[in-house]
Each structure stands twice: as C-alpha cells, then as structure tokens.
C-alpha cells in the first residue's frame, strides 16, 4: 500500500477527529452539549483501551493464552464493585475544582506544592513507557502496512535503521501537534473540554468497530465461526497454552495484574482526567458502571480468535504476534480492512497520547512551572501582563517535551519488548498513587509527610526494580546489574530485591514498592503532626459528602475581602484571557441575578467563583494563593501563611515588649503609689509628731505656768507647800530642756551637723555607765535587770556619750514595755568577727512583725503602749538608729525568746588589725 495513501488517510482521519472536537466545543459554547450523557462519558473512559488493547492483547494471548484478561478484570471490578469510591473521587474533584491527579493529591495533603510536583514528576516518568508503546505501535503498524507484499516501498523495510526512527519520530511530532491543537487552543477556565471528550468517544467507537471487523473476518471469513476455529486450534499441539492460564507464576501474575489494573483505571493520569475531572454529571457514572465493563467485554471477545487465527496463519514463522490484528488481513489480501485496522490502531494510540499529553501538560504547568514562577514572585507585582498566552506556551512546550520523552524511551528501551510488558511498567508507576488517593480519601490522619515519603519510596523502588532493569536489558546499563546486582551485591538484585526470589518481575516490583509505599505512608502519617491546612483539606476530602451540603449553605471559605470586582476580573483575565474572564463574570452575574458594579467589593461567593475560574487554568493550590493575594486579610497558601506567621511573630514580639514595658510602667506606678502613700503617711506622722512634740512641750509648760501663777497669786501659801511647788517648776523645766535637746540632736544628726567625738570606747564601761544612770528607774519599777558581757571585748570605735545614750534609750524602753509586775530586762553582748553585737531584751508584749522595721523611723509611735507609762517622744529609737548607723553598725529588733522585744545593735571594733592579732594569740 502506498505510504502517501496511508499518510493521507491518517491525516484525513485526524482532521475528522479535530473537526468533531471543534464542533463539540462550539456546541458546548452554544449550550447544546454533545457530551453530557452517560454513553459519551463511557466511551470517553474507554480511552483506557489503547494500542496495548488493540494490538498488544492479541500478542499477549498468542504467547500466554488468557493472560491478557486481568487487565480488563481489574477495571470491571472497580466499576461494578467499588463505584462508590469513584463517586467519592468525582465529588471531591467537583467540589474542590481539581484539574489533575497531581492537583488531587496535593490538595488532599494541605495543597502541598512539593507533593504536587512529586506526583507530576512520577506521572511524567511513569507515562513515558506508555507513550512510547503507542508511538511504537503506530510506527510499526505503519511500516507493516506500507511494506505489504506487492507494494513498491519508499519506506524502509523491517522497521530498522534511520527510516524507522524517522517514522516513530514523525509519529511523535504529529501527535504532539494534534495534542496541542486539541488541548491547548485556549485556557479553559471553568468549562470541560467537551470537544476533546467527543473526539475521544468517537475514537473509542472507531477502534471498537475496527477490532470487531478483524475478529469477525478471522472467525467467519477465514473460518466457520468460533466452534470451527477452536476445534482446529485444539487439533494443534502448539496452541495448547492458549486455553490454559499458564505457567508457574501464572496465578500470582494474574492477581498482580488485576490489582494493578484496578489501580490504573483511576490512577493513570489520563484515566483520572477523563473519569473524574471531565465528568459532567455524577449520575453518568451509574450507567458507566455497567456500560464500561460491557465495552471491555466486547472489545475482548475476538482477542483469542484473532490470536489463534494468527498463530495458524503464520505457523512456523517468526511473525510478531503483537501485529496479528494487522498482518492477518494483509496476508489474506484484505487491503481495505487492513487500512481500517490501521485507523483503529491510530484511534486507540492517538486518543491515549492526546489525553495523556493534555493531562500531563496541565500538571507540569500547574504543579511544577507555576509554583516555581510564583515562588520567584514573577506573576505578582505591578506589571499587568496577559498571562494566558504564557500559560498556553508552557503547556504546549510540556506536550512536546512529554512526547519526546516517550520517543526517547522508545529509542532506549521499547524496541526489544512486547507492548504489554511496556504498558505494565507504566501501570506499576501509576499504582504508586493509589495509597495516597484511596487511603487519603478515607483516613483523615493521612498526612502530607506520609504521602511524600510513601510516594517517594514507592517510586524509587519502581525505578529500581522495573525502569532501570528495562534500560539494562536494552544494553544501556551493564546486564550484570540485573544478574549479579549493583557492584555484585546479590542482595540488591533488581529482580530479587532483599533476597525475594521466585516471583515474576511484576509481582516482585509491586510487592516491594507497595510495601514501602503503604508502610512509609502510614508510619510517617502516624508519627507526623498535621498542619492546619492539611487538617482542613483532609476533612474536606474525607467528609466530602457532608461538606458539599454545608458549603451550599455557608458558602465561602473566604471570610471577607477588600478586593473590588475589577481587581478580581483583571486577575482572572491575566490567566484565562480578558474576554473569557469578562464572559465568565457576566454569566455569573446573570446566573445569580446580581449587578456587577466595578468598584464594589467582591463578596465571598464571587471570590469563590473567581478561584474556581482560576483553578481551572492554574490549579487549585496556585489559584488560592493568587486570589488570596488580592483579598487582603485572607490566609492562603502555606508560604503565605509562613510569611504572615513571620510578620505576626514580629508583631507578637513587639507587643510582648510593649507588654513588658507597660508592666514595668505598672510596677513603677505601683512603686510610686506606695511611695506616695508612704509620703502621706510620713506627712501624717510628721503632723502627729508636731502635735506630740507640742503636747510634750506644753505639759511641763502647763505645770510651770500654773504653779508660777499660784505662787504669785497666793502669797499666803505655806512655806512647805511653796517649796514643793517650786520643786515642780524646776523639775518640769529640766524635762522641757531635755526634750528640746533631743529634738535638736535629731535635727542635727539628720542634717549631718552633729559634732561627734569618735574614739576608742570600752563597751563594758559604756554599758555600765548607762545602767548606772537607769538605776533609780529600775528600782522604782522593780524590774530585774541582768547584764551578760564576755570579758575581753575589744574596744569599739564610737562617740562614748552617744553610745551611752543608745543603751539608755533601749533599756528605758525595755523597762517601759516589760511586764509589770515581774519585769525582766536582759542586756548581753556577743563578740563577732569584726564587731560586737549588743542585745537588750524584755519580757513585755513584744513588737508586731509588721512594725519591726518602722519602729525606728522618727515620728513613729507604737499603739501598744503600757497604760501605766507616759508616752514617749517618738524620737528615742530614731536617735539610736542615727547614732549606730553613724558608727558603721546596724540596729534592728526581733521577737525575744519569751515573746518580748529584743533590740540588737552592732558596733565595729576600733582597730580590726589589733583584733586579728588578738584572735591569733588565742
């Protein structure tokens, strides 16, 4: 067949697909959707059936019989038995405006951009073999078709050499171009890619009919139906295996593949995209749960017949079983059928490549490029660029890179492997997302760190046990890496890791990667603390059915905003284009029956809508940051939260300092108040003192005046009486003099104008002199006075008269306040290191602890005064303190042993050095 013809038909077909997509988009914009029904939805999910199904299943069946089946059992089980999980995932995607599987996982774990990036990287690397599989199948089928017998060949023969490379390369380039055309004509904000879905659904119909056509041709054209075909096959010994499940590892591999494909139907980026993101209505799933398995059943009906037919047709040759679907019609000279089969294969491959490329490019753009740009503060700031063009550019570039990664993998590893083997490598990579998704939507405790560690471990094991060995088998790594392990360490052999042998490679890889993935995920989740955002998102995902109802009522996650509608519209416009933003805002206003005034502050409903619009373009995590950046007062994004926390902690520090300062101020104020009260008290005391002094002065004056007048007025007073009256006058005059002296002394001491005559004083002499002066009083009051002073007290440095005065004051106080009758006063002294301590104690009522400091203040008079005793001047103790302080000693009072007061004072020794020698002589 002519290469030109094949190419023309191919491009015409792709053109038709594109036209359908375009028409689908137009219909969607007109509101007359083509795709919003469960049948289209089911057909679009059938993007699951790629060239792997179209060509590879027959190849698999031709080598291992029913071994091709588990790949379809898994999705069937998933749809029919666990559709509730799918419903939950779809609901979460709708509620949170999820755009991709990376967005889903990153959103679940606190909108972690790291996690989104990791998922994207795994997805891109994991999909690489899968895309290479499609490229390989298209290139190979093309080569076979144009080299069909009897055609002059302008294309290379056996798929070898420079032309084969060119074919695959051209296929990659073509598909990249179409992916760009389909997926990135514009940045879609809120609508689904309806045109794309329509095109994919159409392709699913084409590949189904093409495959059925071959099946019917083989079964009824070459043979006489199933019975004839299988009885022929049974007659041949070389086809026994077709009817068996297979070899030693058959059962474990069945199980492995079933599990893998169950995960794949939702974890493959393109399946997630079509099934969850592009889902228009949850209700469609109700039909899809049996329609999709039905599609799988129909497309698999003729796999075995074709495999058997091919085996019989090409018996004894080394024909590639992967291409039986194409080569059998060619062998039987059915050119038109062969071309139809080629188009069917092209449908299967191109739909997968286009959807995968679009899904992955969205992830690369939203989860890798945008976060990096945001981190560089590239989109913020004043420049008001239209960013939608840039976003498109990023996505288009991503598509090209993704397709050429697939091409690269094809060059490195695919050529020597069957289609199914390559596909399973991709399935295993996608399966790494399963724990994060399935555990994440049911267990709130699943944490970001757990997901990160689990994904990373699972991915690394996958790279080590599947990806690297595939490079080694193709000769890009030394084959000894597989046979002996790296550096000859058998323990690390990639197909028998940690000594685990006897399993097929796939089961082995799945076992280890899932062990580390799930184990790491759960262990780290249990051990790590979740952040606020993680907890919020976790609840939002796990309790999605609860929250959807709530959100309708309470509305927004934004509290309030300071952004105007113009701000919002401009922001959205920068990413999705101004015209589309304006349309979207206009539609929102119409739907909600509100007026959009440009300067109005946007309410929370509109903010949510804007976030939704943005999320469609740049992913939900990024959208939240961007909306948050115009809505002041809203906490968004972890980085923002950190920044806000930074600022907040500064404010907290500042206010803490303020608090300290104000506490200090408060303390100072308190001190001031206390001082003020003390001052007031002192003032009152001073008043009282003046009053007391006045009283004390007037009392003797009264007697003096009274008797002077009596003597003056009454000359007849008897001589004896006259003498007595004069005696009173003299005594009272002396008392007056003493009082005045005391007042003056204290005044002088306080003013520092006292004339001191300091010198060496023998303590014993001074004390004895004082006691001698008190002798009369002691006898009069009948007080028992004891004196205990050790011998050899060194001389003290003091003013002798003042020291005597101190002792007199203290002893006379003691006599005044001791018990009456039965008063006891004890004077004693203790020699200390540098001074002597004298104590004067009585057996009176003692002094209350609260008064013990204040009693030495001048003007202070205790109320605990003996009834029998005259009031003091309030100056005695004050004078004592002045004197002792001047000597360099201290004076204080404590409660005596027998409850009375015990006054103590110290006087320093005159010459410390003399005392020291005296001490050493002892």
């Amino acid at each position: 067949m002519s290469g030109g013809l094949v190419i023309s038909v191919s491009f015409m077909y792709l053109g038709l697909i594109f036209a359908i997509a375009y028409y689908g988009d137009i219909r969607a914009e007109q509101g007359r959707s083509l795709t919003k029904n469960p049948y289209i939805y089911t057909l679009s999910i059938a993007v699951f059936c790629t060239s792997w199904t179209f060509y590879g299943s027959v190849g698999r069946a031709a080598t291992s019989g029913l071994g091709f089946l588990p790949i379809y059992l898994g999705p069937t089980l998933m749809f029919m038995v666990w559709s509730v999980v799918l419903v939950k995932i779809i609901r979460i995607c709708k509620v949170n405006r999820i755009t991709s599987i990376a967005d889903f996982i990153s959103s679940r774990f606190g909108k972690s951009s790291t996690l989104g990036g990791l998922v994207t990287i795994i997805a891109v690397i994991g999909t690489m073999p899968y895309i290479s599989l499609q490229l390989k199948s298209i290139a190979t089928s093309f080569t076979i078709l144009v080299n069909a017998p009897g055609e002059p060949s302008m294309w290379s023969s056996n798929g070898e050499g420079i032309f084969a490379m060119d074919t695959t390369f051209m296929v990659a380039l073509t598909l990249a171009m179409f992916s760009i055309l389909f997926g990135t004509r514009h940045i879609d904000a809120s609508e689904h890619h309806e045109g794309l879905v329509a095109a994919i659904a159409f392709e699913s119909v084409v590949k189904l009919f093409a495959f059925l056509a071959v099946g019917i041709f083989v079964t009824y054209g070459i043979n006489d139906g199933f019975v004839d075909l299988f009885s022929k096959a049974q007659a041949r010994t070389d086809l026994d295996f077709v009817f068996n499940i297979g070899n030693d590892t058959g059962y474990s591999q069945w199980m492995t593949m079933t599990i893998l494909s169950m995960a794949a139907i939702i974890c493959l980026p393109r399946q997630f995209y079509i099934t969850a993101v592009e889902n228009a209505d949850e209700g469609h799933l109700r039909k899809a749960v049996w329609l999709f398995p039905l599609y799988l059943l129909i497309i698999n009906l003729f796999v075995l017949p074709i495999a058997v037919g091919g085996k019989m047709t090409f018996a004894g040759t080394s024909a590639d079983a992967d291409m039986f679907v194409l080569t059998v019609p060619i062998f039987h000279d059915q050119g038109a059928l062969a071309l139809f089969v080629f188009i069917g294969g092209l449908s299967a491959a191109s739909s997968m490549v286009i959807v995968a490329a679009i899904a992955l490019s969205t992830m690369v753009c939203n989860n890798i490029v945008m976060p990096i740009l945001l981190r560089m503060h590239w989109t913020g700031g004043e420049e008001r660029r239209d960013l939608s063009g840039l976003l498109l550019l990023i996505r288009r570039a991503s598509i090209v890179v993704i397709l050429f990664l697939g091409y690269g993998y094809f060059r490195i590893a695919s050529e020597s492997h069957s289609l199914v083997t390559i596909g399973l490598v991709s399935f295993s990579a996608a399966a790494q997302f399963a724990p994060a998704i399935f555990i994440g939507i049911f267990w709130k405790g699943a944490s970001r760190n757990g997901a990160l560690v689990g994904l990373l471990l699972g991915f690394l094991i996958w790279v080590y046990t599947l990806l690297l060995p595939s490079f080694a088998q193709s000769g890009w790594l030394p084959i000894s890496f597989i046979e002996n392990g790296p550096y000859g360490i058998a323990f690390l052999k990639p197909y028998a890791l940690f000594g685990l042998e006897g399993l097929d490679r796939l089961t082995h890889a799945l076992l280890w990667s899932m062990f580390f993935n799930i184990g790491g995920f759960i262990v780290i989740s249990l051990r790590s603390q979740q952040g606020a955002m993680e907890r919020i998102q976790g609840t939002l995902f796990v309790d999605v059915f609860l929250h959807t109802e709530e959100q309708k009522e309470s509305g927004s996650r934004y509290w309030s905003g300071s952004a105007t509608i113009t701000d919002l519209q401009e922001l959205v416009g920068r990413f999705v284009g101004d015209r589309r933003a304006a349309q979207a805002f206009h539609r929102f206003a119409q739907e909600n029956n509100i007026q959009l005034n440009k300067t109005t502050i946007a309410d929370s409903a509109l903010l949510d809508h804007a976030e939704t619009l943005l999320a469609g373009a740049i992913g939900s995590a990024t959208a939240r940051v961007m909306i948050g950046s115009v809505v002041k007062g809203e906490i968004v994004g972890l980085d923002d939260v950190y920044q806000i926390l930074d600022e907040t902690s500064q404010v907290i520090e500042y206010s803490r300092q303020l608090e300290t300062k104000s506490k200090e101020l408060e303390d100072t104020t308190k001190q001031l108040q206390t001082a003020n009260e003390r001052l007031k008290e002192l003032d009152e005391l001073k008043d009282d003192l003046l009053s007391t002094i006045s009283h004390e002065l007037r009392t003797p004056l009264t007697s003096i005046r009274a008797f002077s007048e009596i003597l003056s007025d009454n000359p007849e007073v008897l001589e004896e009486e006259r003498k007595r009256f004069l005696g009173v006058i003299i005594k009272e005059s002396q008392r007056l003099t003493r009082l005045i002296d005391q007042i003056l002394d204290l005044a002088k001491m306080e003013a520092g104008r006292m004339d001191w005559s300091m010198g060496k004083v023998e303590l014993v002499e001074a004390v004895e002199q004082a006691l001698a002066a008190m002798d009369g009083l002691v006898k009069e009051k009948n007080v028992e006075l004891t004196l205990t002073i050790p011998s050899g007290v060194p001389p003290v440095m003091a003013d002798r008269d003042q020291l005597v005065q101190v002792v007199i004051n203290l002893v006379s106080n003691a006599i005044k306040f001791c018990k009456h009758p039965g008063g006891k006063v004890e004077v004693s002294a203790v020699i200390r290191e540098n001074d002597v301590m004298v104590s004067v104690s009585d057996n009176g009522a003692g002094i209350l602890p609260e008064n013990q400091n204040r009693i030495f203040e001048k003007f202070h008079q205790t109320n605990q005064i003996s009834d029998q005793m005259p009031r003091g001047t309030g100056l005695g103790l004050a004078i004592c303190r002045e004197i002792i302080t001047f000597f360099g000693g201290k004076i204080w009072v404590k409660t005596a042993k027998e409850k009375g007061a015990c006054f103590l004072f110290t006087v320093p020794f005159a010459l410390p050095e003399i005392k020291t020698t005296a001490m050493s002589a002892e």
Binding site: S691, H695, T699, T702, R705, A706, F707, E709, D867, Q868
Partner: protein, 126 residues
C-alpha cells in the same frame, strides 16, 4: 453648799495645781487619773462640773464626754475640756460633742477659775 468638781488628769503635777486652784475657789474636789476612773467617780456621786483632759490613758476625754452626754441623768453636769492640743479643730470637736468650754494648756489659773465659776452661775469673785 459648795459645788463639787471632778478633776480628770493623768499628769500628777497638773492635778496638783488644779486641785489647789479649785479648792481655793471653794469647791469640793475629787480626782480621777484616767477616763474609766472618771466615769466610775461620776456614777458614784454626780459632780456639778468635770475638768476633763483629752489625752488620757484607757478612755480619752472625748470618749468620757460623749458617755456623760449620752446619759440623761447626767445632763446637768458641766464639762470643761482641757487639752495640750491647741488647734481650733480640737476645740470645735470638743464643743460639738457636748463640752461646755474648752481651755488650752498651758492655761491661766485665774481665767480657769473665772470660767468655772461662770459656768456654775457664780459671780466672779471679788
């Protein structure tokens, strides 16, 4: 019949002088050293007049004055307060609680005698 005067004062020398002055004026004089003793003396035999110092041990002069005035039986008693507290406020306070006169220390013995006689309705001695 001579009037009776109760001298309430804790300073012995002042008591001595008051006793002399009152006797000289022709009154019978009794002595009390503190407020409680003063009330006891009044209860025993009601005097015509009390010379009452303010600064007293136990119950002070103001307290004694109030107690006297609170008893209707003792309403006839004339009260002369004596005090070394010479401020006007002290005097007003004493008069406010029912004292008939207030004399500051040191006092003139002549003036004291005249005021006491006046209070008792006796003519100034000639």
């Amino acid at each position: 019949m001579s009037h009776s005067v109760l001298v309430v004062e804790d300073e012995p020398n002042i008591v001595l002088s008051l006793q002399f002055v009152m006797k000289k004026a022709g009154f019978t004089v009794r002595i009390a050293g503190d407020g409680q003793e003063a009330l006891n003396e009044i209860a025993r035999d009601i005097p015509d007049l009390v010379l009452l110092d303010i600064m007293l041990p136990k119950r002070d002069g103001l307290d004694v004055c109030e107690t006297i005035r609170a008893n209707p039986d003792w309403s006839a008693i004339k009260i002369v307060m004596l005090s070394a507290k010479s401020r006007e406020a002290d005097k007003e306070k004493a008069l406010a609680i029912g004292a008939d006169d207030f004399i500051a220390k040191p006092f003139s013995t002549r003036e004291l005698g005249d005021r006491v006689k006046a209070l008792l309705g006796l003519g100034v001695s000639s």
